[in-house]
Structure formats: structure tokens, C-alpha cells
């Protein structure tokens, strides 16, 4: 990727009625970097990711993708993006292979590249045994693997994954960590969220803490006891906001 900033949030702000979900968040994800967002449930991680992908419009602020306003992003830009936000791309009536085929088509892959990409993804994501099984028959973990494979079938250079380790077994968690390292090493910009600080510490280049919709600090992935640091920060912010 040529762009210096693959994803950027500029003072992103979103409310739902009286509730502030994301409160003037600034964030940048650069090519070759894994940027992790960590926060408790309801911290605003998913809403932030949704705004960066155009799924939710900001109340104010700007979301940029490949240095382009999200509302003006071209098809060429979107063809570089892969995402898994909450529910995997897995239509129950289709087989794993058919789901991957559908995803490849919708991600704009050239027709001639699709079949080899399907074979590659099926082997890479450990789906060979379930290649011709309908998605409705897959376990939660395998549906998640299928969703991740669908998001990455076209080898995106911008990858946004919300809780990618959801439902995965320990081997799956190790697999996804290796996968993220690999795609980042190839130059992709990765934005990932997780509840599990330990997982993030093993893979992220940067960790941003989100709490009550705000960026409340960052963590050094190589630092010691980042879990304690996280909870101290959260507690401090709660006390400050409570006092306010």
C-alpha cells in the first residue's frame, strides 16, 4: 500500500439518543501495522469499527479509508478491504465453498482468480473437511473460520476484525494470531478488537484503550502486566468521570 494511513478516525463522535457511543476518537492504522482496540463491553469498539467501514454514520467527525473520506471511497478502495464485524459471512443454505465464492465475487475478485483462491483459503483456514457442508451444519468455531476466510479471500490490504477469536478453540486462536502477523508482514493494515489482552499483546504493534466511548490511553504490547495497567486506567477514568 502506498498510503501512509490506511484507516483514520478524526474526532469521530456518535450518539444513539442520549447515549454517547463514541466520543471524539482519533485513531490511525498504518500499512504493515496491527492496531488493537481494547475495552470492556459497551466501550464503543464495534461502533468505532462500524463508522470506519461506513456501516454507521458519525454524528460528527470524519472517517477516512486509504486517505479518502469514507463517503467518497471508490470501488477500487473497497476492493482492498476485508472485514468481519460480529456475524461471519456464512449463509446457512450455502456450503463453505459456495460462501467463499459469493464473498470473492462481492469483493470484486477477477473471475479467473477465484477458484485458486478458494482452494487456498479452504486449506489455509482448515475448512477442507467442511468444504461441501452447508454453513448451517458447521459449529460456531468453524463458522467463525469461514467468516474469517470470507473476509480475507481476496487478500485485502486493509483488514478490520471485531473479536476475531470469538468461538475459536485454542488452536484457532493461535492460528488467527499467526495469520494476522503474516498479513501485516505482507503490508496489510490491521485493526482488531478483543477482550483478551493477552492475545493482543502477542500480536499487536499498538494497543489503544477505549472506555465509555473515549480513547483513555495506550498500552505497550511488550510491557509487563498490561492487564493491570488496563484496569487501573479504566478505574481512574471511572473515578474522574464520577467526580465530574
Amino acid at each position: 500500500m502506498d498510503e501512509q494511513q490506511a484507516l483514520e478516525a478524526r474526532s469521530l463522535y456518535r450518539t444513539f439518543g442520549d447515549e454517547t457511543a463514541v466520543d471524539h476518537v482519533d485513531l490511525v492504522v498504518r500499512p504493515g501495522e496491527i492496531h488493537a482496540i481494547v475495552g470492556l463491553n459497551g466501550a464503543g469498539k464495534t461502533t468505532l469499527m462500524r463508522m470506519l467501514l461506513g456501516m454507521v454514520r458519525p454524528t460528527s467527525g470524519t472517517a477516512l479509508i486509504a486517505e479518502t473520506d469514507i463517503g467518497k471511497a471508490s470501488r477500487e478502495i473497497w476492493a482492498k478491504v476485508g472485514a468481519l464485524i460480529e456475524t461471519p459471512f456464512a449463509y446457512p443454505e450455502l456450503t463453505s465453498r459456495e460462501n467463499l465464492f459469493a464473498s470473492a465475487l462481492l469483493h470484486g475478485m477477477p473471475r479467473g482468480h477465484i477458484d485458486p483462491a478458494l482452494d487456498r483459503a479452504i486449506n489455509r483456514f482448515g475448512l477442507a473437511q467442511w468444504e461441501h457442508k452447508r454453513a448451517r451444519t458447521l459449529s460456531l468455531g468453524n463458522r467463525q473460520r469461514l467468516g474469517l476466510a470470507s473476509a480475507m479471500i481476496h487478500q485485502p490490504s486493509i483488514l478490520v476484525l471485531d473479536e476475531p477469536a470469538n468461538a475459536l478453540d485454542p488452536a484457532g486462536v493461535v492460528f488467527i494470531r499467526d495469520m494476522l502477523r503474516e498479513v501485516a508482514a505482507e503490508g496489510a493494515a490491521v485493526l482488531v478488537s478483543s477482550h483478551h489482552l493477552d492475545q493482543l499483546a502477542r500480536v499487536a504493534h499498538r494497543i489503544t484503550m477505549l472506555h465509555r466511548g473515549r480513547v483513555v490511553g495506550s498500552l505497550d504490547p511488550l510491557g509487563t502486566d498490561i492487564e493491570s495497567q488496563f484496569f487501573e486506567t479504566v478505574y481512574r477514568v471511572d473515578v474522574e468521570l464520577g467526580a465530574a
Partner: protein
Amino acid sequence: MRRAVTVELLKVRHSPVVATTTALIVILVPLLCLGFLGVAENGGVGALGAKAELLVAGEGWEAYLSILAQMVAVTLFIGPGVVVTWAFGREHAEHTFPSLFALPVPRRSIAGAKFIVLLSWGALLSVLVVAASALLGLVVGVGSTADVNLAADLARLTVAGFLTTTIALSIGLVASIGRGYLPAIGAVILLTAAAQVAVLFGTGGWFPFAAPGLYAMSGVEGVTQVGLVQLLLVPLTASVAVWATMSWWHRAEVV
């Protein structure tokens, strides 16, 4: 758009909802027509006999086609209404809607592709149900064709069926705005009832959800004749609903 059409076609081909609806309509409609004809001809008693008398006009093929016309008017709205509900509502009920964002294929095209596939399926369904009914009638021998122009009547029923499936596309708007199955199923029931009421009050021709049914029954004694302008309101209304649905898909957020 072609990519989106391929994907939607894939979903429809493997959908148990579409397969079941198609099979039920194509198999049951001819059998029900034959059943009602038999009951009417044999002077059936009770509620079934009364219903058969209401449905049947004339004798032989004339009677058989009059039953088919009414079956087409109802089943080709309810069945496709359910399928359209599934096609649009499932993206919300099964939480796949967010997967259709951040793609080079615009969501407007994905909604448009759903309509193209459903419209084509509706055309095929109309041909199949009328052809199956005609075939059953010929095989069983429902009587004389002296009082009917069979080819013209079958063609009219096919067009009426297609118009009925076309207006059923409007349900896509309700399934989208309602983000699921229930509001759309409610709309199917409500519009079916509203069409009956409009016909009862003699204004059915101007109600696009009733006009195709009245057109199907053209020639049956006592049925209001439908004009070309009234029939044109059907594709016009469906087009407005399709446009509104595609616009909704373009602007909608994930909630």
C-alpha cells in the same frame, strides 16, 4: 450488478423457502382447482360445497379456468410475498446485513439483484403453475373447451400471475424497513385482505394489489373488467417500491 445477481441466484437456488414455495404452488394449485371443480360438479354440500360454488363459473374448462384464476390471484401473491420477505428480511434476521457493507459492489446493486432474481423466479413460477394446471386439466379431461379460447385464457392467466408476483416485490420494502420477517408477513396478510375489500367495494381495478386478480378473472360473469391503465399501475407501483427499497439499502445503517 452481475456479480450481485450471481450471488443472489446462488442463494435462491439453495433456499429451502424458495424450493418449498415453488413446489407447493406448482403442485397444489392444479390439484386444488381439480378438487374444487369435482366438488362443484358433484353438488358438494356443506362449507366446501358452498365455497366451490362461489369459485366456479360455468362448466368444464370454463369452470376449471375460473377456479385457476382465483387461485393464481391469491397464491401468486402470498407465496412470492413470503419468498420476497425471506430474501430481504433474512439479511437482518440472520445478521448478515453488516457483511454487505465495505464492498466494491454497492448495497443498492445487491438489493437490485435480489429484485432481478425474484422477478425472474416469479415469471418462471407463473408459467409453471399455469402450464401444470393446463396439463392436469388435459390429462384428467375436465370437459369441453367449446366455451373457452384455451390458448388466450392460459396466456392471460400467465400474464396475470406474473403481474401478481411483480406487485409482491413491494413487500421487499417492508422487510427492509422492518428489518426482518414479521412486519413483511404482516404486510402480506394485510394487503391480501385489503385486495379482497377493494374488490368487494368495486374499486379493485384501481388497487394494484387486486388488479392482476381481476384481470385473471376477465370474462367471468359479474367480475369488474380491468383497463390497461389500471393494469399499468401494477408495474408502476412495483417500480416505485423497488426504487424505494434500493434507496433504503443505499442509505441504511447497521443497527
